[in-house]
């Protein structure tokens, strides 16, 4: 096994949606990222694993605009981009679901999907009285949920706090995946969930992939990673130790690479 930058079969001609080249990020004398490169192709689930302090979070923060890399390049659909804020990444269609679930518990599902990008009514009611198009947003929310194949959320008027953990995660994922986003980044989406709810979320990830939306998945849970990932990017000591596939390596191999007991 020599391929440290393995590409999915048959995708050599395809253009990566998101590319990172030689990202370096230091915090004082601590090196968070030491020249990391990454390619995300359309319609794949790329998992990022690594021990604590391996640079997973820093890598994700650089990809989503939460941190600015010291050097290195980022490209979206081949075009160089520079993210200074999370909003910049969002404007390029990169949506992140944070570990602590950025949903407002007392607001209903539709309001959460449209939070921060509410739509107003047409005509004077919207322009002068700034009135929200509640009905329209609910209809669109339902359409988006159907399009994304999220079946666990039947009623978009239910407050999010009345939902189970898996359903809440589905709301957060739906918000990230809805409305024309290009890349969805999920940070430990199954960390706080039970077995059944984890499976719901993993199915959701597969559904998103099958609809052509690439997903970056950060997780500590090896079975989950090997369950849904097409490729696995292993971070070790600020560098990409290897990029493997669930077919080419076993979980034991992956853990060995992660901890430095083996090389790819």
């Amino acid at each position: 096994m020599t391929a440290t930058h393995l590409e999915p079969a048959g995708t050599q001609v395809r253009q990566p949606i998101l590319q990172a080249r030689n990202l370096v990020k230091t915090f004082g004398r601590v090196v968070g990222l030491d020249g990391v490169s990454l390619d995300l192709y359309p319609g794949e689930v790329l998992a990022i694993i690594g021990d604590n302090g391996a640079g997973k979070s820093t890598l994700i923060k650089c990809l989503t605009g939460a941190e600015i890399p010291d050097t290195g390049e980022l490209m979206v659909s081949g075009q160089p981009v520079h993210f200074k804020r999370p909003q910049d990444a969002r404007a390029h269609g990169i949506e992140t679901v944070y570990q602590n679930l950025a949903v407002s518990p007392a607001l209903d599902v539709a309001s959460n999907l449209f939070l921060g990008r509410e739509e107003r009514r047409a005509g004077l009611l919207g322009s002068v009285f700034r009135m929200l198009d509640t009905k329209g947003m609910r209809t669109k929310a339902k359409q988006e949920l159907t399009r994304l194949g999220i079946s666990t959320l039947q009623d978009v008027t239910v407050p999010v706090e009345n939902l189970s953990g898996g359903q809440r995660q589905a709301v957060a994922v739906a918000r990230a995946a809805a409305f024309g986003s290009k890349v969805v980044v999920l940070d430990e989406p199954t960390a706080a969930l039970g077995v059944r709810e984890s499976n719901q979320v993993l199915q959701l990830v597969r559904d998103l992939r099958d609809r052509g939306l690439p997903v970056i998945l950060i997780s500590h849970n090896m079975p989950h990673v090997f369950d849904v990932a097409d490729r696995i990017h292993i971070q070790r000591l600020g560098k990409c130790a290897a990029t493997i596939t669930p077919q080419s390596h076993t979980m034991t191999d992956a853990v060995a690479i992660m901890t430095g007991a083996a090389t790819a």
Binding site: A102, S111, G116, R130, P159, R175
Partner: protein, 348 residues
């Protein structure tokens, strides 16, 4: 025993949901869910029951003149409570509402009477005072990240001192003021009953704020910020901007409250409204708005203000000492907050 047996014979589709919500199928928890979804239901019930009870205790209570009197007695606190609701929805609290209102009313009265400015200008100056006070509170809360409780405890004292310094402790009588300033104290007949203009102004404010909170993006952002500040920020909401605008809006509402206060008492007194701060919080809390933010409505607050008014009026008509009114209000507050805590357990 499987879970599905407990939930009853489910259809294939509802089986999953029944399992999710299995732990709240008792009648009591169903009531809790309704109260959770419609927080104004419980104050509405309390108001209805108390009106019926006081009506049975004393037949003078339900006369239209008495009901009209209650609304007038409620108009000032009811207006302050609108501002208080806005702040509490963001998980804050404003101890300075009464002080801001009194400062604003003194500026209105002094400018119109002692400085001889035209009444509309005096009213505008009062509005500016309200906005400036709101801006100060908002600035301290957003820029210095101080808890609203501490900020407004400080500004409460500052505004009281400013009021006394500015007015030299002197009351301005309504008879000396231009008509526009005391206009809110005038009444007009509707059938057999006289309605006060100040009450109408208060109700218009309620309608306006309820619309803004319920039907605009800004309103939704106010709830989101109070609910979970971090979640709101990650959703792309400019949290500090929302907070600042809430304090400014509250300041504007308080200036209107100052105008209503001048009409209601037919005077502008620097010593009025000492207990208005706590009364406004009482109305908000009894109205079902959560002190933890993100939950509640101004209609609940209106009901809360009316409940307090009805209790005070009804108990005094029943011939009870004023101390018992205060006692009853105290019990109401504790009951209201206990119910709020119980409702919030829906989170499971």
């Amino acid at each position: 025993m499987t879970q599905q047996q407990i939930a009853g014979p489910p259809s294939a589709e509802s089986a999953d949901l029944a399992e999710e919500f299995l732990d709240r199928q008792t009648p009591l928890s169903r009531i809790r869910n309704i109260l959770h979804r419609y927080p104004a239901v419980s104050p509405a019930l309390v108001l209805l029951i108390s009106v019926v009870v006081f009506g049975l205790l004393n037949d003078r209570f339900l006369r239209v003149e008495n009901l009209s009197l209650i609304t007038q007695q409620v108009s000032v606190v009811g207006t302050l409570a609108i501002a208080q609701t806005l702040i509490i929805l963001t998980a804050g609290i404003d101890l300075s509402v009464g002080a801001v209102m009194i400062l604003s009313s003194m500026v209105m009265a002094q400018l119109a009477v002692n400085s001889g400015l035209p009444a509309p200008i005096a009213l505008l100056a009062g509005l500016v005072v309200g906005l400036a006070a709101g801006a100060l509170n908002g600035f301290l809360v957003t820029r210095f990240r101080l808890p609203p409780f501490i900020v407004t405890l400080g500004t409460l004292n500052i505004f009281i001192a400013l009021t006394l310094l500015y007015s030299n402790g002197a009351t301005v009588r309504g008879s000396a003021m231009p008509d526009l300033l005391t206009w809110t104290g005038t009444t007009f007949p509707v059938g057999p009953v006289r309605i006060s203009t100040g009450v109408v102004v208060m109700l218009l404010l309620y309608i306006a704020i309820a619309f803004i909170l319920g039907k605009t993006a800004w309103g939704r952002h106010v709830y989101a910020v109070g609910d979970d500040k971090e979640a709101a920020r990650l959703a792309g909401i400019a949290v500090n901007k929302v907070l600042m605008s809430v304090y400014l809006a509250a300041g504007a509402v308080l200036a209107v409250g100052a105008w209503i206060q001048i009409g209601r008492t037919n005077a502008a007194s620097p010593n009025a409204g000492v207990d208005l701060n706590l009364d406004s919080i009482t109305a908000v809390v009894i109205g079902g708005t959560s002190l933890f933010g993100g939950r509640g409505s101004v209609w609940g607050t209106l009901l809360g203000a009316l409940i307090v008014g009805v209790f005070r009026n009804g108990l005094s008509l029943a011939g009870l000492d004023v101390l018992y009114q205060t006692l009853a209000v105290g019990v109401l507050i504790i009951l209201a907050v206990s119910i709020d805590q119980w409702i919030r357990k829906v989170k499971s």
